[in-house]
């Protein structure tokens, strides 16, 4: 029976990995429901951006308070996870503090994990206060309904609990080491948890129970959290990297020229083109519609962005339409895209393939009123710490409305008719275009 712990640990680990892999597969299946991304050239620059923006948090720190707090939590998360390696090894092999023989290096390691754990705890508490007590406005916009709020707070609580468990575990461990308890290898330095030892009992059996309890809850918590990611805005800890990689590197003002349109326009403008020519190239060409009415018409990277969005609301807090009380919120565009994508995902899970459910991203989730409120000012894309592009989705859906449904607002139809007829968005005669030069002042 001496291996029972190891076996239980192995089983928990295996189950959590199986579920995690399943979720990742589903994630990738869903993202691949989108249309092809534009050509991803300039890989070097893209990797540089991943290093700077995602790994280096360069955009995050543009808001100094939330930025600094985030850097602490992010560094803490990454570095403390080194300790998880030891915990895993101990769990599988039945050892205890297997890396302790590293001596001074080990002590420095444990000491820095403790300090980081403490800083993470403080930062997470400040995050919680900003969200729930100070009520920073962007956490309370209309799209922040109960689930997004609960999700955010649940993440904060989990992080608090994990850090506290880690420190309690160390406190109990160090006390056991001092008491010379069997199996408790001497090792580690405990600059933070030493202040907790006084709160703990002094008998070895209670201490072992506390230490083991904290150890198990801590590692089970981490594995549960890993599997919570798919359902949560917290997915950004993984997807921030690919999102940044695939993000637009052209000037923000440069909107993609649709190739499918270019072909048709060239044909229309070519005086030698035979209007009755058979344009099909023999093979059955993919029947494509312009723009997007549903997630199937969005680019893969746009769907990836929907999963990567952590709902921080920096985009919405700078959006001129949102600021002036319009229905549009760039964050809501991302959240609604994800909601619809998840609905489609469940549909596929249930039916084996997507069965028309009579719903669409357009109208059922995102209303034309939201789309038409956008000024294409790029404030949202500039503000996003991981370069998600709500504007790209808005444009795709406008294209669908206009090119497939002819459903632009009446005034825009007039503007476009004017451009077509007289080369200007207003009703002026094109022949008068140089009249200004003849006017006196």
């Amino acid at each position: 029976m001496q291996y029972i712990d190891n076996i239980i640990f192995f089983l928990i680990l295996a189950v959590s990995i199986v579920f995690f892999v399943k979720n990742i597969k589903k994630l990738s299946r869903n993202i691949n429901l989108g249309v092809k991304n534009p050509q991803m050239d300039n890989k070097n620059l893209r990797w540089k951006r991943v290093l700077k923006i995602a790994l280096g948090q360069s955009e995050m720190v543009k808001r100094p308070i939330s930025g600094a707090l985030h850097v602490v939590v992010y560094l803490g998360f990454v570095i403390i996870n080194i300790e998880v390696l030891e915990i895993m090894t101990d769990g599988l092999l039945g050892t205890h503090r297997v890396f302790a023989p590293l001596g001074a290096v080990y002590n420095i390691g444990i000491a820095s994990f403790e300090i980081l754990a403490f800083l993470v705890l403080v930062s997470v508490i400040v995050f919680w206060i900003r969200r729930n007590i100070i009520r920073v406005k962007r956490f309370w916009n209309k799209e922040m309904t109960s689930w997004p709020k609960n999700d955010a707070n649940f993440i904060l609580y989990t992080e608090m609990v994990l850090m506290i468990l880690f420190l309690i575990m160390n406190a109990a461990d160090s006390k056991l080491q001092l008491l010379g308890a069997e199996h408790y290898t001497i090792g580690g330095s405990f600059p933070i948890s030493q202040y907790l030892t006084g709160l703990l009992p002094s008998d070895i059996s209670s201490l072992i129970m506390i230490e083991r309890g904290a150890w198990w809850f801590h590692i089970i918590g981490i594995m549960a959290f890993l599997n919570y990611l798919y359902y949560s805005k917290h997915l950004h800890i993984l997807l921030a990297f690919p999102t940044t990689f695939y993000s637009k590197i052209e000037a923000r003002g440069q909107f993609e020229n649709l190739e499918s349109v270019t072909k048709e326009v060239k044909m229309m403008m070519d005086p030698d083109a035979d209007p009755y020519a058979d344009t099909s190239s023999g093979e059955e060409e993919e029947i494509s519609s312009f723009g997007a009415k549903d997630i199937f018409g969005l680019e893969k990277r746009q769907l990836l962005g929907a999963y990567a969005c952590t709902e921080c609301g920096r985009c919405t807090s700078v959006c001129p339409a949102s600021i002036t009380g319009k229905e549009l919120s760039p964050r809501a565009i991302m959240m609604k895209t994800r909601d619809r994508l998840e609905e489609v995902s469940k549909n596929i899970d249930k039916n084996g393939e997507y069965k028309d459910d009579g719903k669409m991203l357009l109208n059922d989730y995102i209303k034309p009123e939201e789309l038409w409120a956008c000024t294409t000012c790029n404030a949202c894309t500039q503000a996003c710490p991981i370069q998600i592009d709500p504007l790209g989705i808005i444009m795709k859906m406008r294209q669908y409305l206009v090119m497939e449904e002819s459903a632009a607002p009446q005034e825009l139809n007039s503007m476009m008719t004017n451009i077509e007829n007289n080369g200007a968005p207003w009703q002026f005669n094109q022949a008068d275009k140089l009249n200004w030069a003849k006017e006196d002042n």
């Binding site: 923000r252 003002g253 600021i323 009380g325 000024t375 002042n441």
Partner: protein
């Protein structure tokens, strides 16, 4: 401002004489037809004339770049416009274009190349800065000396094309007090006109965007709000009217032309 009596040559006239201008001035629809924007056009022409820049316009051969159509979602109309314009521009073998409209600027510079239109495209603030540094244009404060000016970043110049300092460098040459709004440069708030909004009423909300932005500008207590976009100019001018404030909204080109009493 003195009367406008500068001869504005067209490309057709240039070609007829077998000449090629140094730069094509792309006037844009607002600059051609909108009464307020026409003043900016003329101010810029005066600057070009003063600096002895050999320029021409397309006149009746100039068509909307297609920017508002594209942003409204009509890619067909945009590309029709673009290809028509590219045919004209390439036909005249145009190499260099300057425009006072950031929307034309962005479209010509970023969206025409993949459709076959490759030009060196400059915003008028860039050309003005270049003329100053080449000493073809001298700038002094004149009537503007000591005035308090705030600059509103046009989205399609700023965030869209990362041009933030050029207009500010020009303003600072005028010995004025340049004051920044809380939201400026990358954080600048849109005037409300972009993305084809200029041509339609705003969606339901609790405020007009141009009022919001005008209020932000007024917080700096400026005597002049400087812009570098005909649409921003309209939006801010309307905002000032509604707020009933005695603040002038001027394009950088107008400020320079006025300072030199052109």
């Amino acid at each position: 401002m003195s009367d406008f009596n500068i001869k504005v040559p067209t490309m057709a006239e240039y070609i007829a004489e077998g000449k090629q201008p140094e730069v094509l001035f792309w006037v844009g629809c607002a600059g051609s037809f909108d009464d307020r924007a026409k003043k900016i056009t003329k101010a810029f022409v005066k600057i070009l004339h003063e600096a002895k820049v050999d320029f021409a316009v397309l006149g009746a051969e100039e068509n909307c770049t297609g920017d508002p159509a594209k942003r409204a979602g009509n890619e067909f109309l945009f590309q029709m416009q673009a290809m028509g314009n590219i045919e004209v521009l390439n036909g005249y073998d145009i190499k260099k274009i300057v425009t006072a409209c950031p929307h034309c600027f962005n479209t010509l510079k970023n969206e025409y190349p993949s459709l076959g239109g490759n030009y060196n495209v400059m915003h008028h603030t860039e050309l003005i800065k270049q003329l100053i540094s080449e000493k073809r244009l001298t700038v002094e404060g004149g009537t503007f000396k000591g005035k308090k000016i705030t600059f509103h970043d046009p989205c399609y110049l700023g965030r869209a094309n990362n041009i933030y300092e050029v207009p500010r460098e020009i303003i600072s040459k005028l010995e004025v007090e340049l004051v920044e709004m809380k939201k400026c440069k990358t954080n600048g708030l849109c005037c409300g006109a972009g993305g084809a909004q200029m041509f339609k009423d705003a969606e339901k909300g609790d405020k007009e965007i141009n009022i919001q932005r005008t209020e932000e500008a007024l917080e700096t207590e400026p005597e002049i709000i400087a812009t570098a976009c005909p649409f921003c100019n309209t939006m801010m001018t309307d905002g000032i009217k509604i707020k009933e404030k005695d603040v002038e909204v001027l394009d950088i080109a107008e400020i320079i032309a006025n300072a030199k009493d052109l």
